[in-house]
């Protein structure tokens, strides 16, 4: 079990930030219950709930059968009567088996009935580890297209901690995408206070610049920052915007930045067609097209499932080098 994190702490691994957020929220609120496959004694596929069974007992840390739809449905029903369930998908990819419960039951419940569904689903997603077509996908857009859901995509430990606690407190269904590649690589301080009790749209400027605005989330924010550093040495100043929350979308920050830089690129690990980059590009065109000096560019995965071979996979995920070269092209327009 991790130590109490109620005080400002030093650098924390992303994976530990998630564990800490769960544990701290479970300590603070006895209605919080975890459900998932192999999360109890085993501590989950990524060991996020290691030690939880001992601290919180098997009533609150529930191993489930392999039944995503059934589990999410049970979580929904219980959340309507006072329980605060946090459901772990073993891998984000498997959420497709629970899709109907999320998009039809949970997402529409408040609109239909005015009865809130305070539910969190944690989704370990993303590639970079040679895990193949069914353990590497970036599927946030399946849910961004559904009104009534909130979608979170932290790139940093601090956001991971703060937003998971906020997601559990939020009275709406929240899909919390945690990036597997960042689990044991990203390390930064936790922001432990104050914890908001709602997920609101957030965009944060991680690096200010005057030449191009980039928008990214999750792992791609780290790669975009690397690219911005390289370009800075060439005299190109990139304004890097991170979206820790994708839905609701805070697009005002993006528009304000694009009005300043007059160029924009969206970088995402998800596939291109119909991806969230298209939505952001459309918003920029709606509200800032007269400020633009170049077309809005999307730098994304190609429209293909994730291949197994690490080299094949790496060639598809936007790299700092590819981001640099595409941003340079944008400046040449």
């Amino acid at each position: 079990m991790q130590t109490d994190t109620s005080t400002e702490s030093d650098d924390t691994l992303y994976v530990d930030a998630i564990s800490a957020a769960l544990a701290d929220e479970m300590r603070a609120d006895p209605d919080v219950v975890l459900m998932g496959q192999d999360i109890a004694g085993h501590g989950g596929a990524f060991k996020i709930t290691r030690g939880f069974l001992e601290e919180f007992g098997d009533q609150r840390v529930r191993n489930t059968p392999i039944a995503e739809s059934g589990t999410i449905g049970i979580a929904i029903g219980s959340s309507m009567l006072g329980i605060k369930p946090v459901v772990e998908m073993q891998f984000a990819d498997f959420v497709s088996c629970g899709f109907n419960q999320i998009v039809n039951v949970a997402a529409k419940m408040y609109w239909r009935t005015k009865h809130p569904v305070p539910l969190v689903i944690r989704l370990p997603g993303g590639g970079g580890m040679g895990a193949g077509a069914f353990h590497s996908q970036n599927i946030e857009n399946w849910f961004l297209h559904t009104p009534g859901l909130k979608v979170v995509s932290p790139a940093y430990s601090g956001d991971a901690y703060r937003l998971l606690r906020a997601a559990i407190r939020d009275p709406n269904p929240v899909l919390y995408f945690e990036h597997k590649f960042l689990y044991r690589r990203e390390r930064s301080p936790l922001q432990t206070a104050p914890i908001p009790d709602r997920i609101l749209g957030e965009s944060s400027i991680l690096r200010s610049g005057t030449d191009i605005t980039t928008v990214s989330w999750g792992w791609m924010t780290h790669r975009t920052l690397e690219a911005a550093e390289i370009l800075s040495q060439e005299g190109i100043e990139v304004e890097v915007i991170d979206l820790p929350v994708l839905s609701p979308l805070d697009h005002r920050g993006i528009i304000a930045s694009v009005e300043k830089t007059q160029r924009a690129a969206i970088i995402h690990e998800a596939t291109c067609t119909g991806g969230f980059g298209a939505e952001i590009a459309a918003r920029i065109c709606d509200e800032a097209i007269w400020s633009l000096d170049a077309p809005v560019r999307r730098i994304t995965y190609p429209d293909s499932p994730p291949p197994f071979h690490k080299g094949l996979e790496a060639s598809r995920i936007p790299s700092p080098e590819r981001i640099c070269s595409e941003l340079r092209q944008l400046l040449e327009v």
Binding site: P65, G73, I74, G77, S78, L81, I83, H115, G148, N172
Partner: protein, 385 residues
Amino acid sequence: MTDQDPDTAHSRKPNPGAPSSAVPVSHVESSPRPVGSRAAFYSLREMHAYMRLAREWDLRFEKMFRTGALSKWYSSVGNEATTVASACAIEAGDSLLTLHRDSGAILRHYLDINALLPGILPQDPAIRKPMGGDSKQRFLRLACQMLGRENGFSSGHERSYHYNLFEEEWGLFHIGMISHLGSMIPVAAGTAFAFQQQGSDRVAINFIGEGATSTGDFHEALNIASVWKLPFILVIENNRWAFSTPTSQQYACDHLADRALGYGIPGVQVDGTDAEAVLSVMQTAVARARAGDGPTLVEAMLGRHRGHSEGDDSLQQVPEQELQQYGEQDPLDLAEKRLIDGGVFSRAWIDEVSERCASLVIDTVDQAMSMPEPDVHQARSIYAD
């Protein structure tokens, strides 16, 4: 295709799942009514009043559909014994999850019939206490809900039984359906999970058509509920048809109740036209759930009395003889015959109950018709705040 080929598109083939005599006999729980018991007659009388109210409710809306006053209606006719008796087995504090043919359960759960129709029962309902709160208002709002009025439970945003009603102060926790069949079974089990987690002895009941037992959610939810011993009762309303699909094309087992074996829980098949038999099965299941012993799967055998929805031609798929048989097994006729044969009711009293129920329904629906429509420009939030 030859002249002799019986497999022509429009021939009516017998449905192998249809009743061979009345109801398949092997698993049927028969009526437990001790002959001549006044208490038992009293229970039946109580259920009958609600069954009649439910019947009149549906007849009214069927009629409104025919006159074009309503865009869609799924009839509950024929399901009343199962739905009313099931709702008689629960109490305030329990959760109820219903589908499109469960008006009987809703009316029984929401309403104090004596408050609406004084003297219809000689005393307060005895099988279970009536729900507290304002029955008249609830009934009116229910009618508004059916008609998409502002005062309905969804202010016109959701159709008919696709709504929830929570009145926490009275222990009323009713969750309606979404269209996607099977989807609400896990949600119902989830309410049972909340009860278990909170250490209460509350239970959840949920209905499902025999057609939707083929969905994955049926299996997933029953399996988890069984592993976790959730206080959950799933009632299959087996009316032998799903839209136009007979049971022979829906499942290959003899009895859906037998599936319980695969979950390690009790499964009971019961004559769903017999309110007393259903009540007895449900009371056993509810007691088991309250005691912490887990779920029960109940299969209530019913007849198909109407088309899938009013105005479609799906009833043409049901062989004439089969349909006639269902007509002869009308749950209201059965209850009324028992009450008359037992010397409890006269035919005249039965007629009076029917008339009073019918006029209550007509008055309430008329009143709802005159109530305001929703403001079509109102905004409705997708998020809770």
